[in-house]
């Protein structure tokens, strides 16, 4: 009791009015999460305002519920402003006092956020109490310019063989994951986070998973999964669930990248996953229509491209002078009926440095991850691919493309020559090798060894349909008997002649034993 009394006394003694004069406005009308405000003549775009419920209440009532609701100014008009309400819009009423806060929308960022689940305003939603020791950072900021950047040259391993081999991702790259619902987009993103556990802690990227418009149960499952596998030790989750206001869903990706930028500026690597930007676009469309901005194609506002480009441009690989940190972005886009030529998919495809296209047909055939190799591409990742992976995966894309052609031919050709049959079998084995169960990312050195075995005929003694079993046995064998070879690949990130020699010997031994 004494300490409380002392604290209150100290607060009263130290109290000085926040400001003698404030700029305020009055809510003229409100509805659908948008407030029209009179006054606030000097307000600026994306400035925060506070809807103050205490102004016209008695002290007793005000203290019972003194929680304020914040708003974000998004329209400056001739006779007032329009603001998006960031919170419970039912608490905002006509005639309510609105105070300017004089600062742009900011969120708390810092090391203490790691392992936490926060909303787009940085408030924790995981029930673990407030986050201390953070600094404020504006949600919107200018992307780094050309001078401050360096080319993408370091890989980020997803642990998914098909991606690391054929569409490699570099640190600082923006790689789109696109596909219909239920094709495994989130799985790829989560596996990539899980795989970072095998990275050395000094180079391990800090992961930020931004859930936009997702079911809360799905986000809870993902968080539990990450926590169970130890990945929350380097992960921050920003969530704006489907039940949250459209403004939260619009802001969530910007909050995620602001958190990551803080670490990037300290020279650290970050991985940000936006799951998904189609829902953000829909939320932004809703807000824009309610703000009476003119609708364009598919009723999206005219600046929908800029919404995504300014977000994804903030992913960067900084120059050494700037600390050398990076933000790798894995935006996710959901397509309808595999249509990648729709408005938002084409926009984001043109902004990003490549895409991983997941197809529902392949998924239904049991090919998982259901990557369409023909349409998937990485424009800058090959520069960052490790030498070892580059050496073993060079031929894969071509072989798979030839196999797909032959497979189509096989549908109507009855007699096939031995060479064609061999090529088809080899393609089948390769396809089987690239299959991978979810939640089981593969360490880079193991993936390299497996792909080496697949592309050099070490699975040829097994029937194509048993390749997956053979691969599982091979992984066990290598873990048990080829630690030295795997370590050599891991340390050197290359396949030297000696390592190849030793690996071949081990693989031959495996084939003989099987």
């Amino acid at each position: 009791m004494d300490s409380i009394i002392k604290r209150i006394e100290a607060e009263i003694a130290a109290h000085t009015p926040i400001k003698d004069q404030e700029e305020t406005g009055i809510v003229r009308a409100t509805g659908d999460g948008i407030a029209e405000i009179d006054g606030l003549e000097r307000a600026v775009m994306t400035e925060m305002v506070m809807f103050d419920p205490t102004f016209d209440r008695t002290l007793e009532d005000a203290l019972k519920d003194s929680n304020v609701v914040y708003g974000l100014i998004l329209n400056l008009e001739e006779d007032g402003v329009r603001a998006s309400i960031l919170g419970d819009s039912s608490k905002v009423y006509e005639g309510m006092l609105v105070r300017r806060l004089g600062r742009l929308l900011s969120i708390p960022v810092g090391e203490k956020l790691i392992g936490r689940v926060v909303n787009p305003l940085g408030a924790p939603v995981d029930g673990k109490g407030p986050v201390a020791g953070t600094v404020e950072r504006p949600i919107e900021s200018q992307a780094y310019g050309v001078i401050d950047r360096s080319p993408v040259n370091t890989p980020i391993h997803t642990g998914i063989k098909a991606i690391d081999a054929m569409t490699p991702i570099g640190r600082g790259q923006r790689q789109l994951i696109i596909g219909d619902r239920g094709t495994g987009k989130t799985t790829i993103a989560i596996d990539t986070i899980l795989n970072q556990i095998s990275e050395d802690p000094s180079t391990r990227p800090i992961c930020v998973y931004v859930a936009i418009g997702q079911k809360e149960s799905k986000t809870a499952r993902i968080v539990a999964d990450l926590a169970e596998k130890g990945a929350m030790e380097y992960t921050i989750v920003v969530t704006a669930p489907a039940s949250s206001p459209a403004a939260f869903q619009f802001l969530a990706p910007f909050a995620g990248v602001s958190i990551a930028e803080h670490f990037m500026e300290q020279g650290k690597d970050c991985l940000v996953i936006y799951d998904d930007l189609s829902k953000q676009a829909v939320a932004y469309r809703q807000m824009s229509l309610l703000l009476r901005r003119p609708p364009g194609r598919e009723a999206y506002p005219g600046d929908i491209f800029y919404l995504h480009s300014r977000l994804l441009e903030r992913s960067a690989k900084l120059s050494k002078e700037k600390g050398g940190g990076s933000i790798t972005a894995l935006p996710i886009i959901e397509t309808q009926e595999n249509d990648i030529s729709a408005y938002i998919p084409t926009n984001v495809i043109s902004i990003t440095d490549g895409q991983i296209f997941l197809e529902s047909d392949l998924f239904n055939k049991g090919l998982r991850p259901a990557i369409n190799v023909g349409v998937s591409v990485s424009r800058v990742g090959s520069a960052a691919q490790t030498k070892a992976m580059k050496k073993v995966s060079g031929k894969i894309k071509l072989e798979l493309a030839q196999f797909r052609e032959l497979e189509a031919f096989m549908q109507f050709a009855s007699d096939l020559d031995e060479n064609t049959k061999r090529q088809i079998d080899s393609g089948r084995r390769l396809t089987e090798t690239l299959k991978q169960p979810n939640g089981k990312p593969l360490a880079f050195e193991m993936a390299t060894a497996v792909i080496y075995a697949a592309t050099n005929g070490f699975f040829d003694t097994f029937p194509p349909e048993e390749t997956a079993k053979a691969e599982a046995r091979l992984q066990d064998f290598l873990t048990r008997d080829a630690q030295a070879e795997l370590k050599a690949i891991r340390d050197s990130r290359d396949l030297s002649d000696e390592t190849v020699e030793a690996l071949r010997a081990k693989l031959t031994q495996f084939v003989e034993r099987s």
Partner: protein, 121 residues
Amino acid sequence: MEKAYAQALTNVLAKGSSEDEVVSSLIKHLKQAGRMKLLPAILRELVVLKARTTTLGATVEVATEAGKADALKEAKEAGIEASSAVVNPSLVSGWRAREGGRLIDRTGKRALIDIYRRITS
């Protein structure tokens, strides 16, 4: 268009023109221009403008009757001039004045709420 008409009417009236003259001139003009349909919309805009002027007009509130004169004087010194002050006991002590988008809040209620928020946050 109706906003512009309403704004123009307000400006003309603020300069001291006679209300009857302004209204008859407006109707004559609208008839000549074939825009009589705009009249209800102009009326709506005028109502909005009036409401805005009232809500954003100069007001001074004081906690007690005794503080009225001082509050009006202090508010005037701070740049807000109101003809009278309204007693609002919920302010606890002091006064507050508002005009346009400007608010000067020197009430005990505000100070107490600030302290409460700081302690409980």
